[in-house]
């Protein structure tokens, strides 16, 4: 028994101690699969579990033997270690969680079970790629990396600045005919196979089978792979997922432009956006806007928000569905009522305070119990757009609003010493049926009687 386990481990090229890999136990593997995996991947591994239809990307059909995250040549199956890693780490940015709550022996049994689902593992041996030596961050040449990025055409899918807005991005389909979106390189947290330079270098060499991203193994030198990998890694903007956001207090006038130096001092809060799940399922409209960054600066009576989000296509005034945003505030008397914007509006839903902006030049404030009417209904001018710009896949919008608007009646007041819940809804006209919404975070203004913030 022990000998067999050791041989299997060697064949898998594992980095974990051989003693940790148990002897294969198909029954135990199958049982663990049934408990943890079948609800997404289906009882027989066909990717058709009860939860499958809702998710983008869809849970994999494991009987096909096509794997995205490998350390092996394009078209060959993953190593045992690759599969173990996927189970161990999960696939961030998708619905596939990590499985660290399962003990290591169970995870190895799952690896054996996964391999039994597809004949690929019998007739094609994995062909591990060799990684060129890592020069290290200090010796990586980012400028060279950027030139290689141009030369290799990463921009065709990922966009010139890596914001998932390349010329081919909107029309991409995966090998199963489902729409798929390239990764946004500023959002390393959406990478499934890891966002470190080494992970990126590996993706380049192996390609992402099934996703349409090709292998560059024969198209680029070992050195250039690392320059490029470090360059791509350098595009990441690490997110600040705060539950409580602290706007910056300034005296005098608020920033009136997007590049006012005071934005550099304002705290950043990133909020994750998720498409509202429709009956057709999440994959019917793969998410295009996955996060929004909020910064806020206020003085005695007004607050300014600088909002930044990546949207691969610009739809402005001429478009039937212009890009748009709602900054949503919970008026004090609705606290606790609307748990998440995912479910709002619903019958009898409380009204929320919507500060609305659209690329068609509309902005304003309204109190409403739903979104749809808001986009055409008359609004109070309390909220105004001070500036907006779209540049290479990225919107930036500057909204100003009184801390305590006089109208509409019941509008949310942002007061010092109390929390005000804030969330966002974002519409991408290029993905017109999708509405992306964030969770709530709490705005917390410092006590105005104490000096703080701005200069």
């Amino acid at each position: 028994m022990w000998g067999l386990a050791a041989i299997l481990w060697l064949a898998g090229g594992g980095a974990l101690a051989a003693s940790e890999r148990p002897a294969p136990d198909p029954k135990a593997g199958q049982a663990a699969y049934g408990r943890s995996c079948a609800r997404c991947h289906g009882a027989a591994g066909k990717g058709d579990g009860v939860d499958a239809k809702r998710f983008y990307p869809r849970p994999r059909d494991l009987t096909l033997g096509v794997y995205k995250f490998r350390s092996t040549a394009s078209g060959t199956p993953p190593t045992d270690e690759d599969l173990f890693q996927t189970i161990h780490r999960g696939l961030p940015g998708t619905n596939m969680p990590d499985w660290q709550q399962l003990d290591e022996a169970t995870r190895w049994r799952l690896v054996d079970y996964l391999k039994s689902l597809s004949p690929v593992f019998e007739h094609t041996p994995p062909s591990p790629v060799t990684m060129p030596p890592d020069p290290g961050a200090k010796r990586a040449d980012l400028e060279k990396g950027q030139a290689v990025y141009q030369q290799l055409g990463c921009a065709a899918c990922h966009g010139a600045s890596g914001r998932a807005n390349g010329m081919s991005a909107a029309g991409l389909v995966d090998d199963w005919g489902m729409p798929i979106r390239p990764a946004d390189f500023t959002q390393g947290w959406t990478f499934r196979g890891g966002a470190a330079p080494r992970d990126i270098a590996l993706r380049l060499i192996t390609g992402i089978d099934g996703a349409g991203m090709p292998s560059y193994a024969e198209a680029v030198s070992g050195e250039d792979i690392w320059h490029l990998a470090y360059y791509v890694a350098s595009l990441q903007e690490p997110p600040a997922w705060h539950m409580i956001a602290h706007p910056l207090r300034v005296s005098g006038s608020l920033p009136a432009s997007l590049d006012d130096p005071r934005w550099g001092q304002a705290e950043r809060t990133d909020l994750r956006l998720r498409n509202v799940v429709q009956p057709a399922g999440e994959w019917a409209h793969p998410p295009t806007v996955r996060a929004i960054r909020m910064q806020a600066v206020y003085n005695e009576d007004t607050i300014a928000f600088r909002l930044t989000w990546d949207d691969p296509t610009q739809e402005a005034a001429e478009s039937p569905a212009p890009d748009a945003l709602a900054l949503v505030l919970k008026p004090a008397d609705t606290q606790g009522d609307v748990v998440t914007l995912q479910a709002w509006p619903y019958a009898g839903a409380p009204r929320l305070d919507l500060c609305y902006w659209s690329a068609a030049g509309v902005s304003g404030e309204t109190l409403a119990a739903e979104f749809d009417g808001v986009r055409s209904a008359p609004r109070w001018p309390a909220t105004r757009t001070a500036a907006s710009s779209y540049d290479d896949g990225r919107w930036q919008v500057l909204l100003q609003r009184p801390l305590q608007p006089q109208a509409p009646e019941g509008a949310a007041a942002i007061t010092a010493g109390a929390f005000t819940s804030i969330a966002f809804a974002v519409w991408d006209g290029g993905n017109a049926d999708a509405r992306a919404v964030s969770p709530w975070v709490e705005l917390s203004l410092r006590d105005p009687t104490r000096p703080s913030g701005g200069h």
């Binding site: 096509v66 394009s74 078209g75 060959t76 094609t124 030369q151 290799l152 055409g153 065709a156 899918c157 010329m167 081919s168 029309g171 991409l172 389909v173 090998d175 390609g207 089978d209 349409g212 991203m213 090709p214 292998s215 560059y216 193994a217 024969e218 198209a219």
Partner: protein
Amino acid sequence: MTRCSRIAPALIAILVAIGCGSSKPQDASATTEGQAASSAPAQAAQASAGQPAATGSASIQGTVRLNGTAPAAEKVKMDADPVCQQQHASPVYTEDVVADANGGLKHVFVYVKEGAKGPFPVPTQPVVLNQQGCWYTPRVLGIQVNQPFEIVNSDGTLHNINAKPGVNPPFNIAQPVKGMKTTKKFTKPEIGVTFKCNVHPWMRAFAGVVEHPFFGVSGADGAFTIAGLPAGTYVIEAWHEQYGTKTQTISVGDGETTSLEFTFTAQ
């Protein structure tokens, strides 16, 4: 119309039975019948000819026709990639179904499905799939098992070649630079291997991988030739990317040219 010419008299009866003399187009249901009928004459032909040579002097010349009207071709939108757009002075149309005024169906891969007796030498000359103007040339190609398959990028833009065979191992490789060449091979016979480019989703090409040199691809008038066959009885299959396959059995004699017609029906 199907003509039966210069066929060894002993085989005429069989051919009439299995389609050559039939005025109706063959459909796929003829396959089983044809196969069943083929084994006996094949053995007979061999016996009389002695040990069969790998190649011979018989050929099949035929036409593939489309019954009905082909779906209208659509203009391909290439404007997303200016490098593609610039290479075409006039609009490019989809080629899923290409038929001429007489119903000649282009891009059909016709090959000997059964009856070829190897082993056959593997050509060292590569079969080339060229990417030019963000279009594959040729769209349909035949290649022998283990013959070098050379993929060339003649465009100054990124192409990726995403091959999705069912039997051979798949691959998806990038060719970012003009002039880049990659050589691959297929180790198992397989018909209808699909190639596509994810950067330019309209690009499509197909390969038929066979163990022998007995195949052809129909031209603009639907005509194809399979040459160098030893005398014998063969199951011939015609494969079209949209309409699937049709199969017929045919016998050929040394030095003879036999004609064969396939008809697909537009859906």
